[in-house]
């Protein structure tokens, strides 16, 4: 009984009297912290952040939808796939933030806006010869190639979506026949290549850049016809639409918000505001089409690489 009394007291303590802006996000801690700090300085409005990996956040949102609705004011995710689903389910508010026209059309919809750009690139060992120059070279080089699992990392799903739209599923069959291996995350691809387990791999520019700058024996290759670029979208939850929530979105895509994103190591969605520059051309994905094929794409991939 004493234990339950303790529990009740603790429970009461964690409830807050304020009505802070509530953000659910999968964006890396450093990035969300610096942007929230900037918004605080600008407006003084309190913000509370729940930061989870994609799978856990989606599960939490799913459980909220099934009880009393999403309790967050804002969703800020890493890749457009889940956001696309929430938009299709009419869970997000449709409006036009100030400055949204500065975002390229590929990276925004009627209720979601890109905040930063993630690029899928090739990472290879420094001694690989010849150096793979295009995505198609990956199935030609000798030694195993590492791929991140699209069932774990949303970024890996972007690769699955892009290649199935451009090269067809045969691209993955060729990689598989050449001995490609899937690992869990883009970070593990970089580690595996650096340690010599894999000759090359597909990963995020962010992960590869960090290892290169620390002296890992790897190289970041910006392949032809371009790095696969996708945006990290943000949107206002329709049921809790408010001026504060809208102000936050406008802050994130403002010059100040974008500069902070750049300083935290990611490419801002609006060019010319600092951060890492793309190392070459970029290609994009038709997300509406990709989202509608999600299940069949994943099933084919799973038949090839695992399970």
């Amino acid at each position: 009984m004493a234990a339950f009394a303790l529990v009740a007291t603790l429970a009461a303590c964690t409830e807050s009297a304020d009505e802070p802006l509530r953000i659910y996000t999968t964006v890396t801690q450093e990035t969300v912290d610096t942007v929230v700090a900037g918004f605080n300085e600008a407006t003084g409005h309190p913000v509370e952040v729940l930061r989870l990996p994609t799978g856990e956040l989606n599960a939490r949102i799913a459980s909220e939808i099934r009880t009393d609705g999403i309790t967050a004011d804002i969703l800020w995710l890493t890749d457009p796939l889940s956001m696309h689903q929430y938009e299709a389910d009419a869970l997000l508010a449709e409006w036009e933030p100030a400055g949204a026209d500065r975002i390229a059309a590929d990276f925004r919809t009627a209720s979601t806006w890109g905040t930063r750009i993630l690029n899928l690139v090739i990472v290879a060992g420094t001694e690989v010869d010849p150096v793979p120059a295009s995505w198609n070279d990956l199935s030609e080089i000798s030694g195993p190639v590492a791929l991140p699992d699209p069932g774990f990392a949303g970024s890996a799903f972007a690769a699955l979506a892009y290649f199935s739209q451009t090269e067809g599923f045969g691209y993955f069959e060729a990689l598989h026949d050449a001995g490609a291996v899937q690992v869990q995350s883009p970070g593990e691809v970089v580690t595996g290549v650096a340690e010599g387990r894999f000759t090359a791999g597909i990963t995020l520019d962010f992960a590869a850049r960090a290892a290169v700058s620390n002296g890992s024996p790897i190289q970041l290759i910006w392949p032809e016809p371009g790095a696969i670029a996708f945006h990290s979208p943000i949107g206002v939850v329709g049921a809790s639409d408010s001026d504060t929530a809208r102000a936050f979105i406008e802050y994130v895509i403002s010059d100040d918000g974008q500069r902070r994103i750049g300083e935290s190591g990611w490419q801002p969605v609006i060019p010319g505001l600092g951060g890492p520059e793309p190392g070459g051309s970029q290609v994009t994905i038709a997300w509406t089409e990709a989202a509608s094929q999600q299940s069949s794409l994943l099933a084919s991939y799973r038949d090839l690489f695992g399970g």
Binding site: A3, L6, V7, L10, A11, T14, R22, Q29, E48, V49, L50, R51, L52, P53, G55, E56, N58, A59, R60, A62, S63, R66, T67, D68, T71, L81, S82, M83, Q85, D149, G151, F152, G154, V181, Q182, Q184, S185, P186, G187, V189, V190, T191, A194, E195, R197, A207, A211, N214, G215, S216, P217, I218, Q294, S295, L298, A299, R302, D303, G306, G307
Partner: protein, 534 residues
């Protein structure tokens, strides 16, 4: 006797209510979710990928149970015989490292480009795939067996009985078969059941060691569905797979575990223990196992934490403390404190409730009650957390109460099993003798039964504490915004793919737990030795 009746009722009432609150209602709520969305689910369960994953899980669970029972029991018996505290600490040590980190450290140690490859050109090809997955989970699970079996051995003064058997001319094998194994059978079966369930819902290890070989288990399947659960159908499939896993694991575990009849055991006297040379040989073997399974990977883990970037040779010129700084910056003191307090609360509650469950296990209803915590242990953490969110939102959302409810539901069995293993064969005569000598029930509990159970209680508490401190997916799902725990910090580093900082954090946590736990552990062992030394 009449005066005890109200207490019996209170005990049953407390257990029924707690079981319903922490397990029954959330799981039923999850079941309702499955039934109302059956259209989305039916086909996915009989899909060939699901069937293969179920088969893989069953094989891994069975093989893991056998392997960790061998390791854990051998460790417990030899540690008991030799009285070696360091061997006992070594046998428990794998549990200090979270399974996911331990799998990564095996990769660092034994995969191509790993430590043994760099030093001796030796790499282990089978690391990725079913064998690596099974062995890695078995090493992580062996401490559970070790703790449960050790508690049981100590409670029965097994070594004294074996000494007696040996003195009467029994061979070592005969003594093992006719004294040791019958004494600890209940503990073996109980810990075997826990290991089966533990292996069936392991996620970190198959994700690291199974995925590259295309070896899927139900848990990796569930996590994939969960990753796409913005799509309602994917969420429903994840929930359904979790329910099926729970039902299968519970059915398997309860089949393994049949109630055994209690046979009275004579109480042994206290005899001086001789350490035989064969014990030394067995101990050497166990130290060999520990070196390969724990020490070498641990060295690889430390190297990964201090080498500037992956792929660089682990020479001093490449060493840095930057990764520790990264880990420590995000590791606010608050996060560590939150995690430790929560784990302390969970461990204490679980030991109390585990003890309560043990007291009713002689009744038929009590045995049904016992299977419930085992079944809920089989539900993957994220699914159990979702169940609790569905059941108790919005009232308890973002509260510590909800986290504790789920922790107790999940870890109850870890406290219950060591206690049950130890209590089950405390001879009835002990209590009767004390009662006949004029002790009342309270004195029997405090003076006789309590001291006999102390090792098992400590073991149970430590087990739950460590599982709770390492727990990732449930706590991140249940905590509200802004509450940092070790889990949120770890997952952040892991999502970034920053394996060096993840390793640094794991090294820090391990050192912290060792620093906290070592005095407790060695203090407890010393006190017990004083008792057994004539």
């Amino acid at each position: 006797m009449r005066s005890r009746r109200p207490w019996v009722a209170v005990r049953w009432g407390l257990l029924s209510v707690t079981l319903s609150v922490v397990i029954g209602y959330p799981v039923i709520r999850l079941g309702v979710e499955v039934l109302t969305n059956f259209a989305d689910i039916g086909a996915s369960l009989v899909h060939h990928a699901s069937i293969r994953a179920f088969a893989n899980t069953a094989v891994v669970a069975a093989a893991t149970a056998v392997t960790s029972l061998l390791i854990g029991t051998a460790g417990a018996v030899v540690a008991q015989r030799t009285g070696s505290r360091s061997l006992a600490a070594a046998m428990i040590s794998p549990i200090l490292i979270p399974p996911f980190v331990s799998a990564l450290s095996w990769v660092d140690a034994y995969a191509g480009g790993g430590l043994t490859d760099d030093l001796f050109g030796v790499r282990w090809a089978r690391l990725f795939g079913p064998i690596g997955v099974t062995l890695s989970i078995a090493v992580n699970a062996a401490p559970v067996v070790f703790l449960i079996v050790s508690g049981s051995l100590a409670a029965h003064r097994e070594s004294d009985l074996v000494e007696a058997a040996r003195a009467s001319g029994a061979s070592a094998v005969v003594a093992l078969r006719s004294v040791t194994l019958p004494l600890i059978r209940r503990a073996l079966v109980g810990s075997g059941a826990v290991v089966v369930v533990l292996a069936a819902n392991a996620y970190g290890v198959p994700a690291v060691l199974g995925l590259p070989a295309g070896f899927d288990t139900i848990t990796t399947l569930i996590h994939r569905e969960l990753a796409f659960s913005a799509d309602a159908a994917a969420f429903n499939r994840a929930v359904a797979l979790s329910m099926v896993l729970m039902i299968l694991a519970a059915a398997l575990a309860t089949r393994v575990e049949r109630p055994t009849a209690r046979t009275p055991v004579p109480v042994g006297g206290l005899a001086p223990h001789r350490v035989h040379s064969r014990h030394r040989r067995s101990a050497a073997l166990l130290w060999g196992y520990w070196t390969a399974a724990v020490l070498v990977p641990l060295v690889a883990l430390v190297l990964r934490a201090i080498v500037r970037a992956p792929g660089l040779d682990p020479i001093p010129a490449h060493w840095t403390l930057d990764h520790f700084r990264t880990a420590w910056t995000s590791l606010a003191v608050e996060a560590a404190t939150n995690s430790v307090l929560l784990a302390v609360a969970a461990a204490s509650l679980c030991v109390l409730l585990g003890g309560a469950l043990v007291t009713v296990r002689t009744t038929r209803l009590g045995r049904y009650f016992e299977t419930v915590p085992l079944a809920s242990f089989a539900v993957p953490g994220s699914a159990l957390a979702v169940a609790a969110l569905l059941a108790y939102s919005p009232r308890l959302r973002d509260t510590i109460a909800l986290v504790l409810i789920v922790y107790v539901g999940k870890f109850w069995v870890l406290a219950h099993r060591p206690l049950a293993g130890a209590v089950d064969r405390i001879p009835v005569e002990t209590r009767l003798a004390a009662r006949a000598s004029g002790a009342n029930e309270r004195e029997v509990l405090l003076r006789i039964v309590g001291p006999m159970l102390r090792p098992a209680v400590t073991g149970a508490w430590v087990l739950v504490f460590l599982f709770a401190v390492h727990e990732l997916t449930m706590s991140v799902l249940l905590f509200g915004p802004g509450s940092e725990t070790l889990a949120t910090v770890t997952l952040n580093l892991r999502q970034l793919g920053d394996s060096a900082a993840t390793s640094a954090l794991a090294v820090t946590m391990t050192v912290g737990v060792v620093a906290l736990g070592a005095p407790l552990f060695f203090g407890w062992k010393t006190r017990r030795r004083v008792v057994t030394t004539p």
